[in-house]
């Protein structure tokens, strides 16, 4: 972004992103104007060009007036002379001919200017749309997970397409219209004054009334416009959820229910649009204008009759008066467009201005060549703040009744976590569903920031490291696999830089036991997978994700239940390959499967966000009830005090 001077940043201790966010003006109109003037030279050209084109357009009635004066004169002259002679239809008076050339010249000029200005204006409009969308995208990408957890995908999509597009519409006819409206009106007034100040005054007397009407219109229109756009977002996000969850909808035959829900929102959208349209139709400044014109007309006739005005002048005046209709209607459109633009801007800015980002310190260091020692020191964390926010945006987005809870019980997700992993360690994190296992690992990659305490890698606080270098060193195979709707190859290569050889991809696919099934597909590695990977089986997705994580070659690896959808035999094969792959890495394994646990150097047992036991398998098995619970009842465990190794459990 050009408006930020990067040298300033270090001084005030804010990160570049924070500054960018804070630099977005609070006034939506101001921001909008900033956007329109992104390429000031072109924008100004458009304005100047529009001025010229209006000048040409305005000159036309003037010339017509002059022309008719001449015609009138000739007409009166020739009538009194009463000459009767044969005349060809091509006869033209020289005086008139001049005006004809002028009119044609003006038209040519107008044509060229209008085409040029039209193209430039179109460019600005499209450019504004593009730039805002790029910025918006970048901004959304940089937001923290806390933002994304509560964001509605469909809502953001609607901002990125619908609202940004609307700003385009504001610019494309809007910019010229507004220039045109102002200029036409002032020129018309200028002409009126030039011809006859009495008539001009008669019209001007109505302006306060007129302005009041315009402002009233504008004020009433704004909330209606805003509502339409908001409702569009709501309908959009409902649709988004419906389509994403279509399998569930279908499985539980909820089509009718969903249709009802959607139709409720669509009906509301319809009503909102109609309400806005009706308000727009009520725009009555034209009525005020015609009243003033009528009076002006009456006056001019009076003036002609009394000899203080010529017929030609009256025609010019009438022309100028009628020119006022155009800006009057244009103002209604300009206001309409501007309000849409502002409403769009407001929605976009609200998103862009949210300071939900993981702050990268201005003096953060780039991490290279790490060893992989990880320390959690007294780490506390809760999603509580997040929940608060949901409540707020929830009400903002929808009229969801705010049930003010009398007290909010702050439930810490993680409490006083202390753990250490040495380079090369395999740490297993165990515990019941929802105890905070995934959360611990998310903190390491700074998906969320700790509330208190600190996390160190190689003795450095992760908050002092650049985000990119931190995350590049941490690989995650997430619990819910997400694949992109592109080829298998590109999915595997997602974590590495653009150029990666096919051999390398295949090598890692083989290690993850993915190669064989990939080759059964007609298109092999070029097979396109559906959205989120829907066209692959659960285990296939997981294996691609395993290949993806290993190919990125991170020093620290997090395996979050990464074999849950894989059968035992395949898992064993992967395990074998992994032995090699896990070498020299610090690994955190979350699993409900036991084979892996045995290989861990360290086992952490969690319960409701607290570490309740930590140590080695043998000792834990003896000492920790929580650890024993991990195994469920399918495996007969030795009694808590019995020596280990005497029974291997199982039903065999």
């Amino acid at each position: 972004m050009e408006r930020i001077n990067s040298t300033e940043i270090v001084n005030n201790g804010l990160s570049k992103q924070q500054i960018e966010i804070r630099n977005i003006p609070d006034s939506h109109l101001k921001w909008l104007i900033q956007q329109v003037f992104r390429k000031p030279a072109i924008t100004i050209t458009v304005i100047v060009g529009t001025l010229l084109s209006i000048a040409a357009t305005m000159a036309r009635p003037y010339m017509m007036g002059e022309l008719f004066d001449v015609i009138w004169e000739l007409y009166l002259g020739s009538r009194t002379a009463n000459i009767v002679e044969f005349l060809s239809i091509l006869d033209i008076d020289k005086d008139i001919l001049i005006y004809v050339y002028i009119l044609l010249g003006l038209a040519g000029f107008e044509f060229i200017i209008n085409i040029t200005v039209g193209i430039l204006n179109e460019y600005i409009a499209q450019n504004t749309e593009r730039s805002i969308r790029d910025d918006f995208y970048k901004s959304v990408q940089s937001k923290s997970m806390a933002f994304h957890d509560t964001a509605k995908v469909g809502e953001l999509m609607s901002q990125a397409t619908f609202d940004v597009r609307i700003i385009n519409a504001t610019v494309s006819p809007g910019l010229r219209m507004i220039t045109q409206a102002i200029l036409t009106a002032s020129a018309a007034f200028g002409l009126l004054f030039y011809y006859d100040w009495r008539i001009a005054l008669a019209v001007i007397v109505f302006t306060p009334f007129y302005i009041w009407a315009v402002r009233n219109y504008s004020k009433k229109l704004h909330p209606l416009t805003e509502k339409v756009q908001k409702q569009f977002g709501i309908a959009n996000s409902l649709l988004q959820e419906n389509v994403s969850g279509i399998r569930v909808v279908r499985a539980f035959t909820a089509e009718k229910y969903e249709t009802k829900r959607f139709s409720k929102e669509v009906d509301e959208l319809r009503d909102d649009i109609i309400a806005r349209g009706e308000r727009q139709a009520l725009y009555f400044p034209p009525l005020i204008l015609s009243l003033s014109i009528t009076i002006a007309l009456g006056l001019s006739i009076l003036f002609i009759a009394t000899g203080s005005m010529s017929g030609g002048e009256a025609i010019a005046i009438t022309g100028a008066l009628f020119q006022l209709y155009n800006p009057t209607y244009m103002i209604s459109w300009v206001l309409y467009l501007t309000h849409m633009g502002i409403a769009g801007a407001k929605r976009i800015i609200t998103t862009m201005k949210e300071e939900e980002i993981i702050v990268e310190k201005p003096d953060a260091i780039k991490f290279t060549d790490i060893q992989g020692r990880v320390d959690y020191i007294n780490v506390d964390f809760s999603y509580y703040k997040l929940r608060e926010k949901t409540r707020k945006t929830g009400t903002e987005i929808k009229k969801q009744e705010t049930k003010e809870k009398p007290e909010i019980i702050v439930r810490e997700t993680l409490k006083d976590i202390n753990l250490t992993a040495n380079p090369g360690d395999i740490v297993a994190i165990l515990g019941p569903t929802g105890c905070g296992k995934s959360t611990i690992t998310k903190l390491l990659a700074r998906m969320y920031d700790v509330d208190s305490g600190e996390i160190l890698i190689d003795g450095k606080n992760i908050q002092d490291i650049t985000l990119e270098s931190l995350r590049k060193n941490i690989g995650v195979i997430e619990q819910d696999i997400f694949l992109f709707s592109t080829t298998i190859k590109e999915n595997i290569a997602y974590g590495v830089d653009r150029k990666v050889s096919d051999e390398k991809i295949i090598e890692y696919a083989k290690a993850a036991q993915a190669h064989d099934f990939i080759m059964t597909f007609d298109d092999g590695y070029d097979t396109l997978v559906g959205e989120r990977g829907v066209t692959l089986s659960g285990g296939q997705k997981q294996r691609i994700a395993i290949a993806r994580a290993f190919l990125a070659n991170p020093k620290i690896l997090i395996l979050d239940d990464s074999a849950s959808a894989i059968d035992a035999q395949t898992e064993e094969l992967i395990q074998k390959a992994m032995d090699r792959l896990l070498e020299n890495r610090t690994v955190f394994i979350i699993t409900h499967r036991l084979a892996t646990i045995k290989r861990a150097n360290k086992i952490i047992v969690l319960r409701k966000g607290e570490i309740v036991a930590q140590g080695y398998h043998d000792s834990l098995l003896k000492s920790s009830e929580d650890y024993r619970r991990v195994f469920g009842r399918h495996i007969e465990l030795p009694p808590i005090d019995e020596a280990i190794g005497s029974t291997s459990g199982g039903s065999k």
Partner: protein
Amino acid sequence: MSWFGVGRSEEESEGKFTDRELTQRMVSYILPYKKPIIITTIIIVINTAFSLVPPYIIGRLLDFAVELSEGGTPSIALIVTLAVTNFVLNGLLWYLGEYLTRVITIRAITKVTREIRMDMFQKIQNHDFRFFDTHITGKIMSRVMNDTDTLRDTLFFITQLFGNILLVLASAGLLFFLNWQLALISLALTPLIFLLMFIYRKFVRRTMLNWRKTVATVNAAMGESISGIAVSKSFSREKRNSEDFQKINQENFVASFKRGLIFTTLWPIITLMQIAVLVALLVYGQNLVVFNHVMEPGALYSFTIYLWRFFFPLTQVANFYSQYQAGLAAMERIFGLMEVESEVKEADEPKILPELKGEIEFKNMDFWYNENEPVFKNFSLKINAGETVAIVGETGAGKTTLASLLSRFYEIKGGSILVDGVDIRDLQIEWYRQQVALVLQDSFLFSGTIKNNIKFGRIWDNPTDEEIRLAAKTVQATEFIEDFPDGFETEVLERGKRLSTGQRQLVTFARALLANPRILILDEATASVDAYTEAMIQDALEAIMKDRTSIVIAHRLSTIKNADKIIMIENGQIVEMGSHDELLTKKGQYAELYETYFKHQSLM
């Protein structure tokens, strides 16, 4: 190439419909609104008729005033009357008419778009999964929300069309009435403008379609990158994503710019033509006035004013053509989405059985997603009513597919699936699906409360809170739910992001149980749940599964040991079948699998 928004979504709708078909469909949406259109037309005509009077009056007034100035007494009363008439006709009535047409038009247009949107939504609810496998949500959405929106412009032109045609005819008539020679000159423009529009038409259609496509791609890219943000972040891909997005956005920029160019260049050209005609008119007119005295200057002036009244509707009518092309482009996309042939079709006379016992039989079934990659070939399996059957097999063997087929998510390619001896294709789909509930391998929750998500399992008949609690209790979810300050009213956020993966799975499990189905399918229903909770769930399930047919798919073999029958599939074939003990003694593939699994799950 950038990675997102690509998908398998081919734009198959292109050129699928002829213009005639599209027009017919569009007309069928507009037809119910013929009354508003007729009223609009009438108002437009009346309004214009009124507005035709003032220029004439003004012309007359001026002539009159000029004459007076040459010696005469001005009649104030006459002047005032004329001016007031002008105001009433040109101002008041015109305003009223304008107001009415606008209101009527906006109502009609908005209702039509609403109807189209709803129809699209409803159609989507019936598309088969093949469609959703190959289409990206963002692109589908773009058609439903954005393309219908662009249709509004076209609809607007349609509502105004008849009024404008009448105006063209009427004002042409008037011009002839005033002066036929001048009128002929004015008319010369008409064929030119229509020719121009005809030339533009093709560009309009093409650029429009291109533009709509890029909009959809942008939408899809936006949607997908937000959904996948966690992955992008963990691989630090944000910057590259932005670069990739810029490319997609750039394509949209180009397409949108081209479209804009078409409409911005059109008007100057038309204006130029109009002025050319005006000049021709003046040249000839001055001749009539000055040399031939067949016309008064005031009349000539009036004529030029009327000329614009003729031009305006004329360009509107002509412009209609290009707008209509733009509309057809949007229509093409809209109907392209609606008219996807669903493979899963309801029988002509769908059956509803009085009671479903739950006997299932796959008979020589064939199925594939892609022709060359068969998933099932000649697959046969019989499951007795009330049995619990476990399906095991390596990943990608076709277990989930089997569940999908049983739920009629896809249509089988050969053979048949019988439930209680009736082909499922003969059953009423809605009724049948209500008898089958499944826990999908991917847990999907809607934004909303936990309660509403569970309720979704039987949304069609409003389950009580008690039932919801009971379902949650059965899957051991009550504890964690009640741990939340808001309990069952906890808002889970989109896709259930507020919950841990295991918690999410429990909620989907509860949802399926609430459905109280005759056939229960559990596809890795507890894969993300800890072993202890899983064991508890199993205890609770025993009672529930007793009197219904259950199909359990699991990689954790510990959960299926008690099944009546274990079926091992490989490459779409049953390789082994029997109870756990039988299969172990057989020492076949299952025994081997179990061995491995057991080795994994044992501690030493």
